[in-house]
């Protein structure tokens, strides 16, 4: 009887499903977080009686064969890249992306990471950095005496310097887009890395055709919908229970066979 292994594969799949759902719920309030979804596929089938084979010498064929499956496996934990809701923060260096695109971040090890989390700060030297202190973009320096910093929809950062009444342009936030953004690899800390599946990053200015725009003094929240996560959690839990019931039923059958005298 394969049923024991089949049910075990079902329990394992639902366990991963619950892990993915709980990670979504845990990151419900994480800035720029994109929810994941576990996807499954059935495993190979064993052909016990193949359809289409002759069932007699007079040419009749077996119309539907006997195929026994062997369980389920996880195929992907796909990221759903829909827009998260936008929360007003009144902090001038908080920026949200409305639409497609990622901020480019220089990691300390030299790699380039991408993020939707726009909660930026100024470093001691005035460079625009993430909350972990990683440089945003190519490095935009905001002088110590800058005031009234504004970031427009196209990502241009302007400020009044000193006593000047004319705004001075300090730099521009650029956005990276990918052919297959769900193919980016998450490394934690809200950072994503380019992979062979995502395609190469294409750098563009915010507001270009098809590229998102920037909204200052706002943050993009996660796109996790707690109601649907909880209902899926219930479904996953029930599916897990049903698979464990199969194991119990098979155990009962085997023990009855073992007890024949």
């Amino acid at each position: 009887m394969n049923a024991l292994q089949i049910a075990a594969s079902g329990m394992q799949a639902q366990e991963i499903n619950v892990e993915v759902l709980s990670n979504n719920i845990a990151n419900m309030r994480t800035t720029g977080f994109k929810r994941q979804r576990a996807e499954f596929a059935d495993l190979l089938y064993q052909n016990l009686r193949r359809m289409g084979t002759d069932s007699s010498d007079s040419g009749t064929v077996v119309p539907t064969g006997s195929q026994i499956g062997s369980g389920v496996r996880l195929t992907a934990t796909a990221r759903i890249m829909s827009q998260g809701s936008v929360l007003s923060t009144s902090k001038p260096l908080d920026v949200a992306i409305l639409g497609d695109g990622y901020f480019r971040i220089q990691m300390p090890d030299g790699r380039t990471a991408y993020t939707r989390d726009g909660s930026f700060e100024r470093s001691a030297t005035g460079t625009l950095v993430t909350v972990d202190g990683y440089t945003v973009g190519q490095g935009i320096t905001i002088p110590a005496n800058a005031r009234d910093i504004t970031i427009n929809a196209q990502g241009v950062i302007q400020a009044m310097i000193g006593n000047s009444t004319a705004a001075q342009t300090l730099g521009r936030l650029e956005l990276a887009t990918f052919v297959n953004a769900p193919g980016l690899e998450a490394t934690g800390n809200n950072l994503l890395l380019e992979t062979a599946a995502s395609g190469a990053a294409q750098i563009a200015n915010p507001g270009d055709p098809g590229i998102g725009t920037i909204l200052q003094a706002n943050l993009e929240m996660s796109n996790v919908n707690p109601v649907s996560e909880i209902s899926e959690l219930i479904a996953a839990q029930r599916a897990y229970e049903m698979n464990s019931r199969v194991i119990k039923a098979v155990d009962e059958m085997l023990s009855s066979t073992a007890n024949i005298r």
Partner: protein
């Protein structure tokens, strides 16, 4: 062994197979586009004795064997996901997926783009339109798929999803990975394609659990039958073999 045990064993053998099928259905309760299977049994009558010298007829005996595992091809429930590359088929039809071994058919519409912008399945196989692979350029946005399967984006129309049907869906063979193999696909003229939704597995969990309980009970009652038959034999041996001293 006598006939009681042999017939009982034939029943137990198919029950074991049935619990495998039930376990597979339940394991795939959350597999998008999965089709439940049901096992069908048939009677296999034993040829009777032909000698006529006996008093009374030979008892009619029949064994049971499994005739096949049928696919339940009913449409599963469609769940809204809001993801533009999730596509469900509401009603008959199959997506055509190009694999290394030729075209395969699937009801699982959880698609995505690969690095070159091709529409692919989770395993990276190409989803087919009426004119081959479906490719989106880097700058294309707002991918929409109309109810008849027409794909369009910011760059205009991109062709139409290839949706096929079969004369008899039950003849499709399962291959795992949510894929089916079939012969002689015919295009479906008026498919009903739903964008932003996924078709769930059509496994009826309650039905499966009820069947599972029935299988377990039938199996254990047969085990009891074997015990009883064994006891009968040992009683017969003991009593008939007693020597009157």
């Amino acid at each position: 062994m006598d006939n009681t045990q042999l017939i009982g064993l034939s029943r137990q053998a198919v029950l074991r197979r049935q619990i495998d099928v039930i376990a597979n259905n339940l394991a795939n309760l959350n597999t998008a586009g999965f089709r439940a299977q049901y096992i069908r049994f048939s009677e296999y009558p034993m040829p009777g004795a032909e000698a006529t010298g006996l008093t009374g007829e030979d008892a009619a005996l029949s064994f049971v064997r499994d005739a096949g595992a049928l696919n339940d091809m009913a449409t599963g429930s469609v769940r809204q996901t809001g993801n533009p590359l999730d596509i469900a088929l509401d009603g008959p039809g199959w997506f055509v997926i190009n694999t290394d071994d030729g075209p395969r058919y699937s009801r699982n519409g959880a698609f995505r783009l690969d690095a070159e912008g091709n529409l692919v399945t989770a395993d990276g196989h190409y989803v087919q339109s009426e004119s081959g692979n479906i490719t989106f350029a880097a700058g294309e946005r707002h991918i929409t798929i109309a109810a008849d399967g027409t794909i369009s984006s910011s760059e205009g129309q991109k062709g139409r999803l290839r949706i096929v049907g079969f004369e008899d869906d039950l003849t499709l063979e399962r291959e795992g990975e949510n894929l089916f193999v079939g012969a002689d696909p015919q295009p479906v003229e008026t498919p009903s394609v739903v964008q932003g939704a996924i078709e769930q597995s059509n496994v009826q969990a309650i039905q499966e659990i009820a069947d599972m309980v029935r299988v377990t009970r039938a199996y254990t009652s047969l085990a009891k039958l074997f015990s009883d038959a064994g006891e009968l034999q040992s009683d017969a041996i003991n009593q008939l073999g007693q020597l009157d001293s």
